[in-house]
Symmetry: C2
Subunit: 197 residues, 2 copies
């Protein structure tokens, strides 16, 4: 019922994650009501990001320059690699300001339900990084979801025979977390991961 | 922390209605992960919609051709004008397949809280359409929100002296609606608007 350009815009917006037809419609009219040039800034940002952002050939994080700033930084420790699912996880760990090693971004997690296997992730590229012998520890920081745990387990089995130390980030009650409100699996992991004081 | 093109993309996506920083981040990575050319289709859709869509000079609905198909259709009745807030309201009424008159889109509702007065809406243009004397009835179909009701009241006072019949769409319990779950104001309107059977 809408003119074709509006229908196309709604259709394209509805492809975004978490956006249904009604939200897409609201977004489309928002964009059409913006002052001249404002909506085009979003279009430009999409085109520019796609044009300028590539995968780092070392860690496969998104980057403008290859290798990325984290991989190119000579002050960082080559002996440690933190393996994460997504680029946003790198940002999350960097925010702790404690970790000084390298990263490896898988771009997903193993999920048979969604048809995602190890070959769809940057697993082969991770193995290649371990060949030189510089890496002493691989820290598996995939998420604590079913898929993240499966991926960590898979990688642990794959990497241990290579003589590298493989660790998994701790799962337990979050800071400020109430035991009463913590689910049983988390509590079990917290008990299993208990440490001497 | 993100490379500039990603940060800019997240910032621009976060301007969309209902999109916070976290959702914008998820959308940005979704767009970056799409196969080549796919993200650009959204960018193109935005640019195309902005380039090809304008306001109809008669009813102020969004259109590719001026006047729009609804205003240009000779089979529609010039004596009736339904006044709505948004283009999507025109679609909603057209879906009933019953109304055969014309439309007028205000592009908003009077809202002193948001600084929107009659001059920010297409009110002057509505008045201009009544000058010829062809229009016999103006049906106020603004929404039933505080702003929609205020706009309807304002327009009724403005249009009645011009000798045109001014009506308001009925407010009442929706079809399939349970009285028990209907708020008091709606129930009051339903009682007030009761009709002989």
């Amino acid at each position: 019922m809408y003119p074709t350009p509006i229908a196309t815009l709604i259709e394209q917006l509805a492809r975004l994650p978490g956006v249904g037809p009604k939200t897409a419609q609201r977004m489309a009219f928002f964009l059409l009501h913006l002052p001249s040039g404002e909506a085009e800034r979003l279009a430009d940002a999409i085109v520019e990001a796609r044009r300028r952002i590539r995968y780092c050939s070392v860690c496969f994080n998104f980057t403008e320059d290859d290798p990325c700033t984290l991989c190119a930084d000579p002050r960082r420790d080559d002996a440690q690699i933190v393996v994460v699912e997504q680029p946003k996880d790198v940002i999350a760990i960097e925010k702790t300001r404690e970790y000084r090693g390298r990263y490896h971004v898988l771009h997903g997690a193993i999920s048979p339900m969604d048809g995602v296997g190890p070959d769809d992730l940057r697993v082969r590229e991770l193995l290649a990084r371990l060949h030189g012998g510089t890496v002493r520890e691989v820290i598996l920081a995939t998420s604590s979801s079913l898929e993240g745990e499966a991926t960590a387990l898979y990688l642990a089995r794959l990497l241990k025979p290579l003589g590298v130390q493989v660790t998994r980030i701790a799962r337990g009650i979050p800071m400020g977390g109430d035991l009463d409100y913590t689910d049983e699996v988390t509590l079990l992991k917290a008990l299993e991961g208990r440490q001497a004081l």
